[in-house]
Symmetry: C2
Subunit: 285 residues, 2 copies
C-alpha cells in the first residue's frame, strides 16, 4: 500500500536540473561555480563525506577544491585560511567539516565563514535569517527532507507534524520549515515522555535523532508520511531512526535508509552554492 | 484552588534587584547604564509604551533617552542616526519601536542596530545566536514569560508544552526556551486544526496569539500552568488570549491579563541592557 520515496532516483533527476543551471551560468554569465571544502583533522567518516562532495560537484560541473589541514593547526591559522577563502572570488560557497578537533575553537571558526558564502549554514548569521524568515541558506539535511516532503504534492496546511530531535542542524530547522508550511509542529526529543502518543497521532513524521529503529510499526498512524534523516549502524548495517520495512504497508509514503534523504544532502549543498553565486554575481537563476 | 501569578508583585521585587545592580555598577565601575529609545512616526500606542520605558528606566537609575522622528524621515536618515547610537558609548542598549511607518525599510533599520546593543533582539544576528544556543539577548516578552514560568519552581523536563502562536517575537522564541528546558513542545497557530486536542493535553500553555479569550475553561487540563502574553481589547477591556477568570479553580498557576506578563517586559529590556553593559565594559554582574 505505502510508497517508498526513492531518494536516489529523485536525486538523479534533481542533479540533472542543477547541472543544467550550472552549465547555463557558465555559458551565459561566464561564471564557474566554485565550492571550497575545508577538512581539518583525521576523522575518517568526514574524509569519506568530503570525497563524495568533491565527486558529486565534479560530476555536475562545479569547481570544488578540497583543503586539508592536520588537526594540530591553531584556531588562528584556520581563521586566517577561511578569511582568504571569504575574499577569493573563485569560491561562491565554503563548507568546513565539523566537528573540529577539540583543540580548536569551533565556534570561532564557524562564525568566520562569510554569511554570504556559508552554504552549509554553519554560522549563526544564517540561522538568524532562517528563523526571521529572511533569505538564507537552509541547512542541507533539513532542506533535503523538506524538498522530499514537498515532492509528494500532499496538502500540508493544518496537518500534524512530529519532529524527532531538537538539534541545531536537523530538528529545529525542520520545525521552522514545517511551521512555514502552516503545519502544527510538535518537537519531541530524548527527554520526551510518551513519544508514542505523539507519533501515533502524526500525519507527518520527520526524524533526525540518531537512534536506530526508534520508531516501529505500532507507533505510527495508518496513512502517515515519514521522512527519516537518521543514519545509524545496527548489526553492521546502515539503518534509520525509523524501521521503515516494518511499516511500508501501513504508511502512505516513507523514505528508506539508505537511499532516502541521504542522496539529497550534497545536492542541497550545491543548490545553496548556486544561490550564493546568484546573489554574489547579481543574477536570477 | 489555582494560584494567580502576580506579575505586578513579581516585577516589583525583580525591579529592586535590578536597581541594586544598576547602582552597583555606578558605584563600583563608574558606569551609568544607558538605553536609547528610538521612536519614528506617530503611532499612539507606541508612544505610550516608549513613555513607560523611559519612566521605568528613570525609576531604576538607568539613563534612558528618547529620540523622536517624524514618519517622513528616510530609511537612510534612520540608519545614519542608529549608527551614531551604535558608536555612542553612553548607550549600552538601543531599542527602536516597530513597526515603522510603511515608507521606511524596516528590515534595513532592524539590521543596523549593532548586535551587541540590540537589547530588544530586533535584528537577525541575535535571533541566530538564540537558536544556536549562544549568548544573546532573549526577546523581552518571551524572556518575561519564561522567567515567570521558572519562578514557579515546577519540574519542567519531559512535560508537555503548547505554545500558541508562531511569531518571530513571541511564539518561536518561547518554543526555543522551552526546548532548552527539556519540554516536549507543540507549536499551534491560526492554521491549527483541533486546537483543543493540544491544549487539553498540555501541562504548560504559553499564549501569544492576540485572539481575545481564545482559550476557555473546557480547553485546559486540570492542574495546568498557563502563561499568557496576549493583550487584546474586548468590550473596552484589556484581556488575554486566555479567559483566566473562568479557569482559575481548575488550573494550578495562571497569569492574569493585565498584571501578568506585562509588568515583566520592560524589566527584561533593562536586564538585557545590563547584560549588554557587562559585556561591553567587561565585567561580571
Amino acid at each position: 500500500m505505502g510508497q517508498l520515496i526513492d531518494g536516489k532516483n529523485f536525486g538523479k533527476v534533481y542533479a540533472e536540473s542543477l547541472k543544467e543551471k550550472i552549465q547555463w551560468i557558465k555559458d551565459n554569465r561566464n561564471v564557474n561555480l566554485g565550492l571550497a571544502v575545508v577538512y581539518i583533522g583525521d576523522d575518517k567518516a568526514s574524509s569519506v563525506y568530503v570525497n563524495s562532495i568533491i565527486k558529486k560537484c565534479t560530476s555536475l560541473g562545479v569547481h570544488a577544491e578540497r583543503f586539508d589541514f592536520s588537526g594540530d593547526i591553531t584556531t588562528q591559522e584556520a581563521i586566517d585560511f577561511i578569511e582568504k577563502l571569504n575574499a577569493d572570488d573563485k569560491f561562491h560557497g565554503i563548507i568546513c567539516q565539523f566537528p573540529l578537533p577539540k583543540n580548536l575553537d569551533e565556534l570561532a571558526v564557524r562564525q568566520t565563514i562569510a554569511p554570504q558564502k556559508d552554504v552549509d549554514s554553519a554560522g549563526s548569521a544564517n540561522i538568524g535569517r532562517l528563523y526571521s524568515n529572511l533569505d538564507c541558506f537552509i541547512p542541507c539535511t533539513p532542506k533535503g527532507m523538506h524538498l522530499l516532503l514537498k515532492s509528494l504534492g500532499e496538502e500540508l496546511t493544518g496537518k500534524k507534524a512530529v519532529v524527532l530531535g531538537r538539534s541545531n542542524v536537523v530538528g529545529k530547522p525542520v520545525a521552522q520549515l514545517l511551521l512555514n508550511e502552516n503545519m502544527t509542529v510538535s518537537i519531541c526529543h530524548s527527554r520526551t515522555k510518551n513519544l508514542k502518543e505523539y507519533t501515533l497521532d502524526a500525519d507527518v513524521i520527520m526524524a533526525g535523532v540518531g537512534v536506530p529503529h526508534l520508531i516501529k510499526e505500532d507507533m505510527v498512524k495508518e496513512g502517515a508520511i515519514i521522512i527519516d534523516a537518521g543514519i545509524n549502524v545496527l548489526e553492521d548495517k546502515l539503518v534509520g531512526d525509523v524501521d521503515y520495512k516494518s511499516m511500508i504497508d501501513k504508511v502512505k509514503h516513507i523514505t528508506p535508509v539508505p537511499g532516502g534523504v541521504g542522496p539529497t544532502t550534497i545536492l542541497m549543498l550545491i543548490e545553496n552554492t548556486l544561490e550564493a553565486c546568484s546573489r554574489q554575481c547579481g543574477f536570477e537563476l
